[in-house]
């Protein structure tokens, strides 16, 4: 475990938001605080487009905080800092220790210094030269490159001296909650959690809907979706998950509609239910994990038919991605292992043998007329939903 006294967080895009900047900054700070609250007492404050995170007691684990901060949208860079006394010797010693964790032999470096406390005897350029010289002497194999260094040793002279050598890439994006709310259709597969992650990254709060078809799917399938929502919530914060019973509707579709249209009609109804749930919960758009041509129900023609079922905008962040690219992200955000567990979700059971890949919207609308009481069935399904707040 690395010694961390303080973490500096830099945010990029927000800083360019002009007059709205304070709104974004406040939201980011709130998000950081509520996430860190779960693991201990931390002070989170902001100055000059930097957020400072410090432990308030011994139990507050900075390494654990670092892990959490890496998953908060709106943070571009994360710098774990070691504090020391404001004199050359302890600064040099601390910098040396920080370097030893980076396997410095053979690497190039430079020193960057900021002197906020003007009483410190050396000014910034002098400090850079002085410290650079000491480190060059003491750390074997290190060489100087002020233009393209592999390692940057940062020193800031404030109330104490801050030393840091690592700049960790943050999750990027915008603070969740600064861009409204949208509803994710969350199946148990690989795609939908990734889609939710990508939209949340742009600052959108996530509401989720899952369709449960017991006894055609097991309660394990439901548990799996809850687990996936938990994993996604590591990035997007709190998620309200609506589990809507779908068996009756599914059976009605199977009974009354032509086999080759089963999947597309099912998806249209799922979209309609999600739209209703969205309206009731102040969410303004839908999110799906669809990607053009991935399966029969995601061909261009099928997407046109699904899209037609609702009025709300449907965000499909994976629309132009290959499966491999989606898998890469799902591994990165750690939803992949859960996604590939084998419990069947309602999309994989009752799959027609020959689904239409070029469905005709007029034919579908005609076929759906057989579902004469679908409005009531939808109302009933929503009234029987189970709602879980995932944090």
């Amino acid at each position: 475990m690395q010694k961390i006294d303080l973490i500096l967080l830099k945010y990029g895009e927000i800083a360019l938001k002009g007059l709205n900047k304070p709104i974004f900054e406040r939201k980011l700070l709130d998000n950081i605080k509520s996430r860190l609250d779960k693991i201990g007492k931390f002070s989170v404050r902001r100055a000059q487009s930097t957020v400072y995170v410090e432990p308030l007691d011994d139990a507050a684990d900075m390494n654990q905080a670092l892990k959490i901060l890496k998953k908060i949208f709106g943070i571009v860079n994360i710098c774990p800092v070691v504090k020391c006394e404001k004199n050359m010797e302890s600064i040099a010693k601390t910098a040396q220790e920080c370097l030893s964790g980076l396997d410095p032999s053979g690497k190039s470096f430079k020193v960057e210094a900021k002197r906020e406390d003007k009483k410190f005897p050396l000014n910034s350029p002098q400090l850079c030269m002085e410290l650079g010289g000491i480190l060059l002497d003491r750390v074997e194999g290190l060489r100087v490159d002020v233009h393209n260094p592999e390692i940057v040793v940062n020193v800031e002279i404030r109330g104490e001296a801050y030393v840091y050598t690592q700049k960790i890439k943050g999750a990027g994006g915008m603070p969740v909650g600064t861009n409204g709310k949208a509803t994710l259709l969350l199946s148990g597969g690989i795609d939908s959690p990734v889609a939710g992650y990508m939209i949340a990254k742009r600052g959108v709060e996530i509401e989720a809907v899952h369709f449960h078809s017991h006894p055609y799917t097991s309660d394990r399938a439901k548990e799996k979706v809850i687990d996936l929502a938990k994993e996604v919530s590591q990035y997007c914060g709190k998620i309200k998950l609506h589990i809507v019973p779908f068996t009756e509707i599914q059976l009605a579709i199977i009974e009354k509609c032509p086999e080759n249209y089963l999947t597309i009609i099912m998806r249209r109804i799922m979209m309609q239910i999600a739209e209703k749930v969205s309206r009731q919960n102040g969410s303004a758009a839908l999110i799906t994990g669809e990607s053009i041509g991935q399966v029969a129900s995601q061909t261009m023609e099928s997407l046109v038919c699904t899209d037609n079922a609702v009025e709300m905008p449907v965000f499909r962040p994976l629309i132009g991605m290959d499966k491999e690219e989606i898998v890469t992200i799902s591994k990165k955000i750690e939803t992949y292992e859960t996604s590939i567990l084998p419990y069947e979700d309602c999309c994989t059971i009752f799959v027609p043998k020959h689904p239409k890949t070029k469905p005709d919207l007029a034919e579908i609308i005609e076929a759906e007329k057989a579902l004469d009481d679908i409005e009531e069935m939808i109302e009933k399904a929503i009234s029987e939903e189970e709602v879980l707040v995932i944090k």
């Binding site: 006894p215 055609y216 059976l251 199977i254 086999e259 084998p342 069947e344 059971i349 009752f350």
Partner: protein
Amino acid sequence: MNSALETVYLDNSATTRVYSESAALALDAMCSSYGNPSSLHRKGIEAEKLIKKAKEQIAVTIKASPAEIYFTSGGTEADNLAIIGGCNANRGNHILSSNVEHPAVMSALQQLEKKGYIVEYIPVQKNGIIDTARFSKMLRKDTVLVTCMFVNNETGAVQPVESMGKIIKKTNPGTLFHIDAVQAYGKLPIDVGSLNADFISLSSHKIHGPKGVGALYVRSKSKLLPVQFGGGQQNGIRPGTENVPGIAGFGLAAEMCHNNMNQKIEKMEYLKQRLKNGILNNIGDVLINTPDANAAPHILNVSFAYVKSEVLLHSLENDGIYVSSGSACSSHKKGPSYVLSALGVDRKMIDGSIRFSLSEFTTEKEIDYTVERLVENVKNIRKLMKR
């Protein structure tokens, strides 16, 4: 739903409800007799006594002596210890088994195959039972081990282990004989003398004892090397601090389950027949995968044509009835049951197979309710599947 029948548990081959007496004893072993059985002080002796008692309770149920009982973490470990530890301690390069063994045996044998042992799997007949004449022919002078289950966990078929033991003793007395009796224990009489077995695996949680504990019977003269190493407990055959609460609970469960065992067996057999007849008389297109004769009293495996077993399982679950599709141990693997495949059951019928497994607590009312719900659910599912 019949509210009087909120839970009809017919998955007793997966695991059983623990006797409350057994659970209470285990709790007591955790909270008051919590000493380490190897400690020299009184607390240690107190715990050691619990183990001694359990050994006696178990030994008497299989007509063994207490010194021949070794505790393990369960059936899987007992199988592994017998198979790997037995082969390591004795000469010979050839192993005989069947093609319907539990994965605990199959996987241990595959490990030995990798090390150069030649393992032959006797194919069972259509009824799931080994033909002893065929077994005799396959037994070789250099056969170091024969390992065979007593009762098949998926179909309930009883293997002719007694005849196999006799054949081994007569033609090849040097060959070790291991019986995986996990599903037979408490459901059939077991007598180590007449079985001529060197090793017998038992499990606690299949007989209303706690999970995480099992036993291996090791005949006093049979040689066995440990497969794990530690502080020398249990003569070094199975080192590691004993699971005292589990062992104490297991011992009591063994005793309780063998009380009036014949009556319990009769009752289970009667209910199994009632279930079978109820299904055969009320539902068409079914196949009974459990043999008529030579079957354990508690397992009935049935294939329903035009039904996906998982869907039927979850429909029954809605009615409060808990069953298994194929074997619970292999439910997390996809693919058809290898046991039913070995019996030559058609793939479509395997996909619709359900295992009902009874216990001494199963009632007639529960069986009748199950038949009633089966009729209804199978009808509904077939309406969709047959389209």
